[in-house]
Each structure stands twice: as structure tokens, then as C-alpha cells.
Symmetry: C2
Subunit: 192 residues, 2 copies
């Protein structure tokens, strides 16, 4: 992709986040985003099918990086640890400052349509993780649970981290969540 | 609610499931469902805002029963077990034969709009469970994880149960999933 094109995409993202902040997600149109970014509306639609997509543009990047993490894990005898580690090791700071991640999260949570899309992405991620673990030789039920539970542990930690002050680091919160999970595992797993 | 009204709702559900089966979800209209159920279209819309809602009509019932289960649990020192037990103890057979639950699930998974709605319901359920556990005095991080992880353990088990033959019982699958989860807990929870 020529540099100027990459530049347009970045500028569109930046402009969208500014406008969403200033006048809300619903109140912002694709035309306004293009204007603020200094590109034509046609250019906007070359990058994004709609304004929603701007909020999810990093998701594919994230997914590819995480699957690579599972693929490259030195061993998979502890598949839950593999999933959680892949999630923690991702360069979350690279997605922008915590404050902008916080705003993105608040925006998604306050809009049912965006929330559904976010949950859908999580589901797809869980399916992909389960598949990647099976490819590495993990038994299907263990792969499935490691993917599902790993994402939940991470998600709970990520939200706690977003809400926390600037000092707290994500890995610390995730370690604490893993300890909490270990502590709530029932002594006897035969429940009924 | 007078008996005939309850009867209409049941008939509408029954008619909808039949038509969805025969001609697909997309190919079925509210008008056709009302006709098959022997009620007016107006009656249809008195019960359901749209045909999607028919597939989710049991969700509120389920949620209320599950929250009651958490509320009534004799103790909550093992909150994950409380959540999973509430889910297993629900009268799943009461929602209809496994075959019709299987068809409902396949229908939801093949329609992105329905899947998003289903995921949304799961998210709301998780929030409600977390809240109910906190009300019972469980620490917030443990409550949050127990709710999220319990739902995932159950969901993975439920799908396995749906796919299994007629002999397998849901509680057996859930017990196996809990053992698998215990087996994949990392020996050391400090991951990074």
C-alpha cells in the first residue's frame, strides 16, 4: 500500500475518534469524518464500509497477532496460560493511549449495535483460538475451554485495567485475575 | 393472563418453529406465523415485536430462574460452582425436546443478526450473575470471574450436549467440563 494511502486511513481514524468525542457517535457522519481528515467521501468509503468499522479496524490486526502468539508458544501443555499470555503480550499501548481505549470502550458499551458487533468479534476470536489450540494438538474440550475462559479472564482484567489509574499495569491485573480464578475453582469439580 | 392468551403465545411459538424448519427463518413472515397459529396478525404483534423475538422468548424466564438459583444457594464460598450449578439445575428439558433446542441453536448460528442477539443475552446474563453474587457478599473480582467463566463452562458443555446422542445427560457433560477446566489451570498463576 503506498504511504499516502496508509496516511489517509490513519487520518480517517484519528478524525473519527475526535468527532465521536466531540459530538457523539450517532451525531457523526462519514461525510464529516472525511472532511475533518481532509479526504473525499469517496476515499472514506474506500477504506471503511461505514463509520462503525472504524472502531473495529484494529480487531483483525489483534486477531492475527494473537493467533501468531498461540502458534509460536513454546509448549501448549497449559493451554489456558497460552491463551492468556498471548493476550497479555499483545502491544496494547500500540492501539493508542489508555484514555482513548477507555473512550472507545465507553462508546461501544453505550450503543447496542456496536456492543453486538464487539461481542461477535469476541466470539470469532474464541472460535479462532480454539481452532489454533487444536492445531497445536490440544484435545478439543480443553482447547474450547481454554479459549473461552482465557478470553473472559483477559476481558475482565482489561476492563479493570481501563478503569484503573495510570500506575496499574495490565499484566499485574491479569496475574491477579488468574489467582482469583484459581481461588474460586471448586474443591470438587463434580457439581451435580 | 387468561388461558386463551397463554394459548395464543404457545401456538405462535409452535407455529413459528414449524415454519422456520420448513422454509427457513428468513423465508418466514409474521403474517405466515399468525396464519399457521390460527390467530390474527394483530395478535401476533401483541405478543412479539418481530419474528426474532420468538426465538428468545424463553430467555427472560431462564434468567429469572437462574438468578433465583444464585439467590437461594445455601452458601457462596465457591461462587463458580454456584453459577454452574444454577445453570445445570435449570429445567432444560422444559424448553422442549433436545432436537428442537438443536434446531433453534443451528438457526441462531447461521444468522448473524440472531447470533448477535444471542451473544447480547449472554452478556446481560453474565452482568446479572455478577451483580447477584456481589449482592450475596462475593468480592467483586471473584463475582465477575465466576459469572463470566461459569457461563462459558456451561455454554461449552451445552453445545457438546446438543451435539451428543440421546443417552448423554447435561450434568455429566458439565462435570466433565469442570474437570477439564481444573486440569488446564496453570500450576503457577503468575503468567508474565
Amino acid at each position: 500500500m503506498p504511504r499516502w494511502e496508509h496516511g489517509s486511513q490513519e487520518r480517517l481514524k484519528q478524525a473519527a475518534m475526535e468527532l465521536f468525542d466531540e459530538q457523539g457517535f450517532e451525531g457523526t457522519s462519514a461525510v464529516q469524518i472525511a472532511q475533518r481528515a481532509g479526504v473525499t467521501t469517496r476515499t472514506f468509503f474506500r477504506y471503511f464500509p461505514d463509520k462503525q468499522s472504524i472502531l473495529f479496524v484494529d480487531a483483525d490486526l489483534l486477531r492475527a497477532a494473537l493467533l501468531q502468539g498461540i502458534h509460536d508458544a513454546p509448549d501448549v501443555t497449559e493451554p489456558l496460560a497460552v491463551v492468556v499470555r498471548a493476550l497479555v503480550d499483545f502491544d496494547w499501548e500500540g492501539l493508542g493511549p489508555r484514555e482513548s481505549q477507555r473512550r472507545r470502550d465507553a462508546m461501544i458499551r453505550s450503543n447496542p449495535e456496536l456492543l453486538e458487533r464487539e461481542l461477535n468479534k469476541q466470539q470469532q476470536m474464541s472460535d479462532a483460538f480454539g481452532y489454533a489450540l487444536r492445531q497445536r494438538g490440544v484435545e478439543p474440550p480443553a482447547a474450547e475451554l481454554a479459549a473461552r475462559v482465557g478470553i473472559q479472564v483477559f476481558q475482565a482484567s482489561y476492563l479493570e485495567w481501563l478503569a484503573a489509574d495510570g500506575e496499574t499495569d495490565l499484566a499485574t491485573v491479569v496475574n491477579a485475575s488468574m489467582s482469583t480464578l484459581a481461588a474460586i475453582m471448586p474443591a470438587v469439580t463434580r457439581l451435580t
